[in-house]
């Protein structure tokens, strides 16, 4: 029994809303965007077929307002809601609210989201499905005695993690028994204030893990397949910034093993939809279950480039109650794909967000290059939301070609007006360690002890930049001179310029 979907409301913004609107267009489905006041001119509003204002500015006033979104869906006649990632994507209450309102939530059933969203429950289920997990407790260890005996059993160093966690919050590395008590209470309190849930648990700390994840798809007919892995080890603030597929350390046997593990867990959980099973991989290539993301990932395009599948269109199929378009044996992986996330962040200042006006913006293109962007020339990057401008994804017949094409595309990409992670992407692509595939989640700290310094070293063009400033200034002077000559003015433009220099006020960094 399959349903027809004629219109989808996209409960998101930025590049992922644009991505979903494009998939709607490809599928012949009408897309309806929603927007906050500062997003009226945003790309997702312009690219969608329809657009409805939510009224308000912050995420809490707009993209997180379940009532407004449901109401808009009803008003515009959408049958389904795509939540993208972030915002309401992993909110099981919202998924349930959609169902209660006769709307299709494009994602797993609320019960599955709730189950896998709880790290302790997800870990228990992974164990049940036979997945290797990081040695540790699967219970709440808020009592110091329990914690002590757990940690003793696991062996130091250990990691305290929040049950409801994410983004490194409520997480502490403990190297010896002395530090345990203090770490336990600060982690619990941090988890309490960040997630409203003080529960924490203890795991073996794996020193230099790789972050490797497996893309899964499950339909309502019990079919679950995996599309191979993505390596997402390069992270800042525990958040991914560069991803690729395949991983240099994953061979066919390991891919099959990880894939089967991911599928086993998904089947155990009754998974329906697109999702990702995340693993940590230690220095001996042993992998451990980490968590499940019950949604489309930011980095899904690298899997699309390698498999040729359109994951958002697969989500649409699944939501309509249809079977997956492919079986496991049909999955034909080809070549190598890399994604660099282009954030409005200054990597040389600790990846600090930079908002502002895109005074010039020009995307790269050509063979093997895809840009999933949420911005257009002349847009402003607002302060209220995630600073992701675009994702630059390249494909090459092998990893070397993919790296070369990424370097070319990063070189062509013009973003003027704000700092971005483009120079950082260049630095990584040019580094011997990335090229030889020596990755871990500590990649940035390990490779660049002083990132600002490394970035400025790659910056051999300061002389050229200085020369350009001199030339542009000189050109301006010549033009002023020509104008003043034409006007037969007595005033010498060099003087004017000198005076202007004297009026110089403050210089901001």
């Amino acid at each position: 029994m399959t349903t027809t979907i004629r219109k989808i409301l996209i409960a998101n913004r930025g590049e992922i809303a644009v991505r979903i609107a494009r998939a709607c267009r490809d599928a012949g489905i009408t897309s309806a965007a929603v927007y906050s006041d500062p997003d009226r001119m945003a790309s997702h509003v312009r690219v969608a077929d329809e657009a409805y204002g939510l009224g308000g500015t912050t995420s809490a006033e707009t993209y997180l307002r379940q009532d407004k979104i449901i109401e808009t869906a009803h008003k515009c006649g959408a049958e389904a809601i795509h939540p993208g990632y972030g915002f309401l994507a992993e909110n099981h209450e919202f998924a349930a609210l959609c169902r209660d309102n006769g709307l299709i939530f494009i994602g797993p059933p609320p019960e599955v989201i709730a189950l896998l969203g709880d790290k302790i429950q997800a870990r228990r289920m992974a164990e049940k499905a036979g997945l290797p997990v990081v040695p540790g407790s699967i219970q709440n260890v808020d009592q110091i005695d329990t914690a002590r005996s757990e940690a003793y059993g696991i062996g130091y160093p250990v990691l305290i993690k929040a049950a409801a966690g994410g983004g490194g919050k409520g997480m502490r590395i403990v190297n010896d028994p002395e530090g345990l008590g203090a770490a336990l209470s600060t982690a619990a309190s941090e988890a309490g204030s960040a997630f409203g849930d003080r529960r924490v648990y203890i795991e073996k700390y794996i020193p230099r893990p790789r972050h490797i994840e497996v893309q899964i798809l499950g339909d309502a007919h019990g079919n679950v397949i995996h599309l191979g892995e993505r390596e997402c080890s390069i992270q800042r603030r525990h958040q991914k910034v560069i991803e690729e597929s395949p991983s240099v350390i994953v061979d066919d046997a390991m891919r099959a093993e990880m894939g089967e593990a991911a599928v086993a867990l998904a089947k155990e959980a009754g998974y329906i939809g697109a999702g990702t099973v995340e693993f940590l991989v230690d220095e001996n290539k042993k992998f451990y279950f980490l968590e499940v993301n019950t949604r489309l990932q930011v980095e899904h395009p690298v899997t699309e480039m390698v498999t040729g599948l359109d994951l958002v269109q697969e989500q649409f199929r699944i939501a309509r109650g249809k079977k997956l378009s492919v079986r496991q044996k049909d999955i034909d992986r080809r070549g190598h794909a890399i994604e660099c996330r282009i954030y409005a962040e200054d990597a040389s200042a600790g990846f600090i967000p930079c908002t502002g006006h895109l005074s010039a913006y020009q995307e790269p293109s050509g063979p093997g290059v895809r840009v999933d962007s949420g911005f257009l020339d002349g847009d402003d990057v607002p302060v209220y939301y995630d600073p992701l401008i675009a994702k630059l994804i390249v494909w090459g017949s092998d990893r070397t070609q993919a790296i070369q094409r990424m370097r070319r595309a990063l070189n062509e990409y013009v973003i003027q007006g704000i700092e971005t992670t483009i120079p950082f992407g260049r630095l990584v692509m040019g580094s011997e360690s990335f090229q030889s595939g020596r990755l871990s989640t500590h990649f940035i700290e390990d490779e660049f002890s002083d990132l600002a310094e490394s970035l400025s070293q790659t910056d051999g063009d300061i002389l050229m930049a200085a020369m350009t400033a001199a030339l542009v200034d000189y050109r301006l002077q010549l033009r002023l001179l020509a104008v003043s000559r034409r006007a037969r003015s007595e005033e010498n433009p060099w003087k004017i310029s000198g005076r202007q220099a004297g009026l110089r006020t403050r210089w901001t960094r």
């Binding site: 995420s59 603030r237 200054d346 200042a349 600790g350 600090i352 967000p353 930079c354 908002t355 502002g356 005074s359 010039a360 020339d377 302060v383 209220y384 939301y385 995630d386 600073p387 070189n411 990409y413 013009v414 003027q416 007006g417 700092e419 483009i422 120079p423 260049r426 002083d450 600002a452 400025s456 790659t458 910056d459 063009d461 300061i462 002389l463 050229m464 930049a465 200085a466 020369m467 350009t468 400033a469 001199a470 030339l471 542009v472 200034d473 000189y474 050109r475 301006l476 002077q477 010549l478 060099w494 310029s497 000198g498 220099a501 110089r504 006020t505 403050r506 210089w507 901001t508 960094r509």
Partner: protein
């Protein structure tokens, strides 16, 4: 022919420039260059320097130029060379005068980790700001001494609002006094 000095906070370059037969000529570090400079849209320029093709953005700020190369943005002051030398002899330093740390984005100041009179290292975290739902360390742009801290924890600040003023100090040959 004109001689200019182009400077950032910690480097300066001297160039002689002239224009002849539709081409610019620049003499400075790295020798003499022939430059074909063409303005494009959005303050961008196409430059062919001795046959090598470059594209840069140059925005005129109230106090100088911001040059966007592919890799980074650079802020420069461009001055007549003679005037720059006179200023230097008179002990005037535009960059030193302008040693401010300003807010890179609007947000909330969560913590201030320095006090007036502190000697701080380049890249040392001086404040913590919350913006875009993240806590961000705001680091020192230079090695120097703090004159004033213009904000306090709990305060909301606008983009480019002054956070910290440094003592004027600049002499590449000599380190900051302990």
């Amino acid at each position: 022919m004109k001689k200019v000095q182009v400077s950032t906070a910690d480097r300066s370059f001297a160039f002689e420039l002239w224009f002849e037969n539709g081409r610019y000529f620049v003499r400075g570090e790295g020798g003499e260059h022939v430059v074909d400079l063409i303005p494009l849209r959005n303050n961008r320029y196409s430059l062919i320097i001795d046959g090598r093709s470059y594209e840069t953005g140059v925005e005129v700020a109230s106090d100088g130029y911001v040059v966007f190369t592919g890799a980074r943005s650079h802020r420069f002051i461009v001055e007549d060379y003679e005037i720059a030398q006179m200023k230097r002899q008179a002990g005037i330093d535009d960059w030193a005068r302008e040693m401010l740390l300003t807010a890179p984005m609007p947000g909330l100041v969560l913590a201030v980790n320095c006090r007036p009179g502190d000697r701080v290292e380049k890249n040392q975290p001086l404040l913590v700001m919350e913006a875009m739902k993240m806590e961000n360390d705001i680091k020192s742009p230079l090695t120097g001494i703090i004159r004033t801290v213009a904000v306090a924890p709990g305060q909301n600040v606008d983009k480019n609002q002054t956070l910290i003023e440094f003592e004027p100090w600049r002499n590449p040959e000599k380190p900051v006094p302990e």
